[in-house]
Symmetry: C2
């Protein structure tokens, strides 16, 4: 039915990308001449199949079009629809693995037509349509185009840890909207961990009462989230991490532990000893009832039991557990863990659920339908696949490390060991999930740590494998990130207020200039920087600053391009940096700003080095070798973390120093 | 009971203002040594009287403290309260004119105590407390202080026109939050006008059906707004503007008109002919039932009937109306209007309501308890007062002109003709109301056209008359404006996304630099700029740009100060301006950016003039006279509006040119 003209798409991708800020980039894009005007008469009409979910999707898309353009919205819709939607059938009642998400979009100067076999496909097409709207010569318009699109992987997810820092329901909802905007289809909800048990259990209310500080989702809220996700074609998979990472369970139910209690909610980060007792029947009786309660709450067929990082100290120290192990011929802690998993799997199976777990659950005897989520990497994933298990990749997509989007974008689930798999084995790799563990994020900062990076990862999961040019990705990422603002995401909105807060009554612009030149560092740096717990405020400069600086990236592009406009931008910024330290200084006497003294000084030094480099470039001179060596040394010294951020501004200045060290600079003279 | 040490307050105001970003500035402020730390243990306790409204106020204030500081919020509150609230009584069930709003706030290093005779007084004190929180040497804290405070005027309002552009209920709610943050107590809701009838009538549903394009408040929403306002100590006064400005009524009820219909909703701006027929009994029968319905919906004792700008063409053209006038000895249209007002007043009185109207309602025979809202000015207001009427001033507080905060701040209800009033007459001037008519604002832009200017006007209404230093006001306005972000107001938040929208996939930073150097112009310019109607999109540069540029104001301060930090800021900005036009140019081919070509070029020219001026200043030279004359001419030519904005950047550059024209510049040499 569809002509999946991949070769054409590949040929076109670099050509189109410059003008079409789409992400994930569609499988097949054919540009046509002309544009379709988008003005106040914009209206969507539905032909063919329709239901409440489709109508809601049309309403949301229409709202989005008017919000993102700021067009006057008439009280009465116009007669002639601008976009006709043609859906063939509802699709599954609940979003399900493998649902057909394909769509076809045709735009001419006279109108647009979106068709898809399912409501979910229509949603994916709508997400593309709103990304196509751009300001132009005569107001807003969409280019005439033919798009045929469908996902590369059926499992494209985001995992959000709401245990280590509490994420109120509105955080979840707005992230679901953003996920839908980039065609993600799995929300993996990490609902319990040592630091928090975040769902209301009516059967065992002591779980949330003792395990959440009062911060948990009611069952009504869970239903709201699940319905909200369904409307957007997103599956919701709950994770209750057992038998390790269970301190929060044991705060209310110490009888489940492998060692006597009492237990208190964990406030620190790490791997801790409290572990469910896999040898007592009461454990399974409680889990049976609890999992039954949760299975009814979460309609998806898949259910995540965690299973990672099981610390076996309590097991080894317990004579009863060791006796049980001997009696059942369980020779080691991994075997005991495997026994536990098989018992849990049986409980889930009884409820019609398929188990998912992290790499560690893969052990002899594991049911063949289990899905393995790999934090260990492609080798581990490929090994599972060779054994017949389906899997998804998360290694390489850990958002809490705050790595550049390009780093994650370069990781492909089919790379490395997966490359050697045969077709059947390869087909068992279902896709991937990015993970946001929440040691160093709060409800206020989490959006800016997930987005826009998540959009690049979403492209990795959706678009053809060959769409992988990093420069091209970044050219599209900026406008896509801005577009996500209209989903109510706070990834850009919270930046300025968080800086304002630090400045108090003092001037905030110099603080913003410094922040624009910095990048926040992730868990690998922060865990060693100071004593963090779940009770520590996340309201400092490092929390306001973004993981990846758009400004710095633009300067890097300019330092590579060195066109007259590039030189203008570079000069303006370098001079602003030079002056900035004097401007920031009066804000001192404020601890939040005080910790930035060294960074601020260095930014001004960078500006001076940048200007010297530009001087060489513009005068067509090559910088002396000893100058270059000395500056490179200075730049290297500025690379160590300070106040838990990196001075990203070093990067474009290094490019300028390198450019100044090359001959034939006459072309840059103005 | 209170020692209103006004003299002391006046003496302290200039001293304190620099360190305390409070607005409105309290009547009496006594600084003390020390500071009270605000950290995660922050908690409010209530002593003495309490009720649901007080508890809600405590909850909101606590939320606000945690939001604005970003402190970790524990699931369980700490034992020891940081702020003790002591309320003596509930006060009136509904906020009412003349309610005691006084409070006393004492802060020491050990704790804070807020006491007030009413819940409303506690709310006012809470608004002060959150403004006192500032970042410092050891995190957030509040200075030790003694404050005794009460309002100067009992009527401190904001009028919002929701007829010309529709303002959804969330716009109203967030503005109520912001009003409470600056101690305003009257929300005047302009609910009907030629362009829209915005309330659901159950008795006459044709009013909203034919008169609102579907954009009206349900009665449930009205109740929500009234309750929300009550919780914040704000009265809600509805205005139904009659007998003129009634085209929207007549769309559904043409039988009320002074000339045969049919009538269509008006889309243009101005004064129009359709007017209620003041001579037919049916008019009063309908008004009786309608006003009865609305009187039950709005609990405040005061009810606004508009009454402004009655265009009498229909009356003059109607033989029946003219015959009625002769028969009743009504010699002119104003007398006919007065007759109408007296009839309406009787209908309101029957419902226990006191009438308010604009200046034009003041005519012989008007009931003595009527309140006159003056758009004509202090002379008109004083005249009403001399005749025994109470009044409020709105002239000078028209926000839709987008004048600087300082312009409004300089207007005092007791200035001009009011100065000559005796004590009794003066006491009849109850306060004032700022007015936001909505010809050129949408739900997206209205916040940034009201705020932060409204905070300065609120100070005029609340603080002692002697608090009027403009420099001091602006020094406080910036942090107060930032603080208002935490009320959910969008006055700052929508700026960047609206610019992003214009840039499309192009670079947005140069657009932001240009926007920061511009100021949006108001109704006096826009009404002649192009053909506007209620259907025109408000999504251009002029709509994104702010009415008053903080950046430009800071540059003006720097150009007056010329300290080393000032010079650094000026140099950095002037250079950025010089380079900006080249950076913006690549965005062209986009109509939204295209209309800014002249502005952008001029900003770069300004940067060059600024740098030349700085050159003279830094080298201790006086600029040649012909250079000065020529530059001043160039600057003057840049003052005409372009794309409906003013190039505010001219102002600091003019200051620099002037500074460079003076002798003895050696002090500025670095």
């Amino acid at each position: 039915m569809y002509r999946w003209n991949l070769l054409f798409a590949i040929a076109c991708a670099p050509l189109m990308a410059a003008s079409l800020p789409l992400m994930p980039y569609p499988a097949n894009v054919v540009p046509r001449p002309g544009r379709l005007a988008i003005d106040s008469s914009f209206r969507v009409a539905v032909e063919g199949f329709s239901d409440a979910r489709l109508e809601a999707a049309v309403r949301r898309s229409t709202d989005r079009v008017f919000r993102q353009t700021g067009l006057y919205r008439p009280g009465r819709a116009s007669q002639r629809p601008v976009l006709v939607v043609e859906c063939r059938a509802a699709g599954a009642e609940w979003p399900a693995l493998g649902e057909d998400e394909s769509y076809q979009l045709d735009v001419t100067a006279d109108g647009a037509r979106l068709s898809a076999p399912t409501v979910t496909g229509i949603q994916r097409g709508m997400a593309t349509f709103v990304q196509l709207i751009a300001p132009g010569q005569d107001g807003f318009s969409v280019p005439a185009i033919h798009i045929e699109d469908r996902p590369r992987f059926p499992w494209r997810g985001l995992m959000l840890d709401v245990a280590r820092h509490w994420m109120p329901v509105e955080v979840v909802l707005r992230n679901l909207d953003a996920m839908a905007a980039v065609k993600l289809n799995v929300f993996h909800w990490h609902l319990s961990d040592d630091q928090g048990f975040r769902v209301e259990s009516k059967l065992f209310p002591q779980l949330q009462q003792a395990g959440s500080d009062g911060n948990f989702y009611t069952q009504a809220q869970v239903r709201e989230v699940v319905d909200y996700a369904r409307e957007r074609g997103i599956r919701v998979i709950p994770e209750f991490d057992i038998p390790g990472h269970t301190t929060s369970w044991l705060a209310g139910m110490p009888q489940l532990a492998s060692a006597p209690g009492p237990y208190q909610l964990q406030r620190r980060w790490g791997i801790f000893e409290p572990t469910l007792d896999p040898t007592r029947e009461e454990t399974y009786q409680v889990l049976d009832r609890f999992l039954g309660e949760m299975a009814a709450l979460f309609p998806d067929r898949y259910f995540h039991i965690g299973g990672d990082e099981v610390e076996d100290a309590q097991w080894k120290q317990s004579a009863a557990i060791q006796a049980f192990a001997r009696q059942h011929h369980l020779a080691s802690s991994p075997e005991l863990h495997a026994y536990f998993n098989q018992r849990v799997q049986a409980l889930l199976k009884k409820r019609g659920k398929i188990m998912i777990g992290w790499d560690e659950v893969l052990a002899p005897g594991l049911a063949s339908d289990t899905v393995i989520q790999s934090w260990r990497g492609q080798e581990s994933l490929a090994a599972a696949s060779r054994k017949g298990y389906r899997g998804i990749l998360s290694s390489g997509y850990y958002l809490d490390y705050l790595k550049p989007a390009a780093t994650h974008y370069a990781v492909d689930p089919m790379d490395g060991a997966a490359h050697a798999l045969d077709a059947d084995q390869a087909a068992r790799i279902l896709g991937g999930e990015a993970c946001m563990f929440s040691e160093y994020v709060s409800a206020e900062t989490v959006d800016s740590r997930i987005w826009p990076t998540m959009a690049a990862i979403a492209e990795r999961f959706w678009s053809p494998r060959e769409v992988k040019d990093t420069v091209d990705m970044y050219a599209r990422l900026d406008p896509v990130s801005r577009g996500l603002e209209w989903t109510n995401l706070r990834h850009r909105a919270n930046y300025q207020p968080m800086l304002d807060r630090l400045a108090g009554a003092g001037p905030v612009e110099p603080l913003r200039i410094l922040a624009d030149g910095c990048e926040s560092l992730g868990i690998d740096v922060r865990r060693d920087a100071r004593k963090y717990t779940s009770l520590v405020d996340l309201n400092r400069f490092v929390d306001a600053v973004r993981p990846e600086s758009e400004s710095v990236r633009h300067l890097e592009q300019a330092a590579r391009g060195l066109t007259p406009a590039d030189l203008a931008a570079l000069r303006a910024t370098m001079r602003a940096w030079v002056e900035n330290d004097a401007r920031l200084a009066p804000v001192a006497g404020n601890a939040f700003v005080g910790e930035l003294a060294a960074l601020s000084r260095e930014l001004s030094q960078l500006g001076a080095i940048g200007l010297e480099s530009l001087g060489y470039l513009e005068n067509g001179k090559t910088a002396p070798e000893n100058w270059i060596a000395q500056k490179k040394q200075v730049l290297a010294s500025m690379e160590r973390p300070s106040a838990e951020v990196a001075l990203a501004a070093v990067r474009p200045v290094r490019l300028l120093v390198e450019a100044a060290s090359k001959r034939n600079q006459g072309a840059f003279r103005r």
